[in-house]
């Protein structure tokens, strides 16, 4: 994709499109030694090498539609889902597409932006980029931002496993970050998503997102993970991001390979959901969409 070079314009969100265009080119070059996420594989995706996410230089999109299931302040949102992910959550609701960076159609940033702009004109409040995990597709994501007007409210929905390099490229690009804080400890992260050093990376991303954008922290309550995952997540949020909006989601269902883990073979009980909300209230978290 080509886009106009920024000329004589002040850098910042007011100049988002031009800055995104410049950064997209930088990001594409960085594919030669990919460090977009905390796996830090360092593979040359331009030369056909593949890291843990299996993504190459191309980006695919497996979903793009108007949705109203996200947080109320975001909807209706035009949700654009990119194939491929750097996590391997066995309970992923879109595992077939999220684990496969070739899922869907080749992503054309300009054409997708045209769709998104039509959705905004028709009444959509926001445009959300998600996955899989969009961080592994930074060049395409930034090309998309470069095509969007400065007035568009853009949402970055991420698993919080991005690297400092990725965050530097994303600074000022998205108005709102919706960050999934999935696991409360590294043991569960490793066992359920095969992801090392998760908690440190997630916290680092959350703090950064809280300082650099509007932030909504999401947690999908998993059955049997109230004490090991939700409670430490909630306690950390209360201590470190006390004003953050928290979206506690109780809609887990045993999708994809969830049944590999006995505790994930059913939905959370009503009691677990009630207890989770009680924990949040006890810590004075700012729960939204209750």
């Amino acid at each position: 994709m080509t886009c106009l070079e920024p000329v004589g314009l002040k850098r910042g969100v007011e100049n988002r499109a031009a800055l995104a265009c410049e950064r997209a080119q930088t990001a594409r070059g960085l594919l030669a030694s990919c460090h977009f996420c905390a796996h830090h594989c360092g593979v040359d995706r331009l030369a056909g090498e593949r890291g843990l996410c299996q993504a190459g230089a191309e980006t695919h999109c497996f979903s793009a539609q108007l949705e109203v299931g996200e947080e109320l302040e975001l909807i209706p949102t035009f949700a654009v889902a990119l194939g491929g992910c750097d996590l391997r959550c066995d309970f992923c609701i879109t595992g077939a597409s999220s684990w496969n960076p070739a899922a869907g159609a080749a992503f054309d940033a300009r054409a997708m932006a045209a769709q998104a702009k039509r959705a905004l004109a028709a009444g959509a409040r926001t445009v959300t980029l998600l996955g899989g995990e969009p961080t592994i597709h930074l060049p395409a994501a930034l090309e998309f931002v470069a095509e969007m007007p400065a007035t568009a409210a853009l949402v970055w929905k991420t698993n919080a496993y991005g690297s400092a390099e990725a965050r530097a490229l994303l600074e000022g690009m998205f108005n709102i970050w919706v960050v999934d804080f999935k696991f409360g400890n590294d043991g569960c992260a490793q066992r359920l998503a095969r992801i090392p050093d998760y908690v440190r990376a997630a916290r680092e991303n959350l703090v950064w997102a809280g300082e650099n954008s509007r932030l909504i922290v999401r947690h999908l309550l998993m059955p049997g993970h109230l004490e090991c995952c939700w409670e430490p997540v909630a306690e950390w949020l209360a201590a470190e991001l006390p004003g953050a909006k928290v979206s506690l989601r109780c809609g887990f269902w045993p999708a994809w390979h969830a049944r590999r883990h006995p505790e994930l073979s059913h939905t959370p009980s009503a009691e677990e959901c009630a207890q989770a909300r009680e924990i949040a209230r006890g810590l004075s978290l700012s729960l939204i969409d209750e």
């Binding site: 108007l66 109320l72 269902w253």
Partner: protein
């Protein structure tokens, strides 16, 4: 391109879990259970903002994470 797509899971106790909720499905679920608080808000938003003109938008195959 295909039609908008929502996934539903209907539980034995009658609860309905939804992913990728489209405006049309929000309106349908609201009609089926007008007392469902969460769907009231979503159906209202769908009706007032994007839903009425959703037919203008093209879609890929759908589905994404909760």
């Amino acid at each position: 391109m295909s039609e908008p797509h929502t996934e539903l899971l209907i539980l034995p106790d009658g609860r309905v879990l939804v992913h990728n909720l489209t405006p049309a499905m929000a309106a349908l679920l609201h009609a089926l259970d007008p007392q469902d608080r969460s769907m009231i808000d979503r159906a209202t938003v769908a009706r007032s903002r994007g839903g009425k003109r959703r037919a203008q938008q093209q879609t890929h195959r759908t589905s994404h994470k909760p």
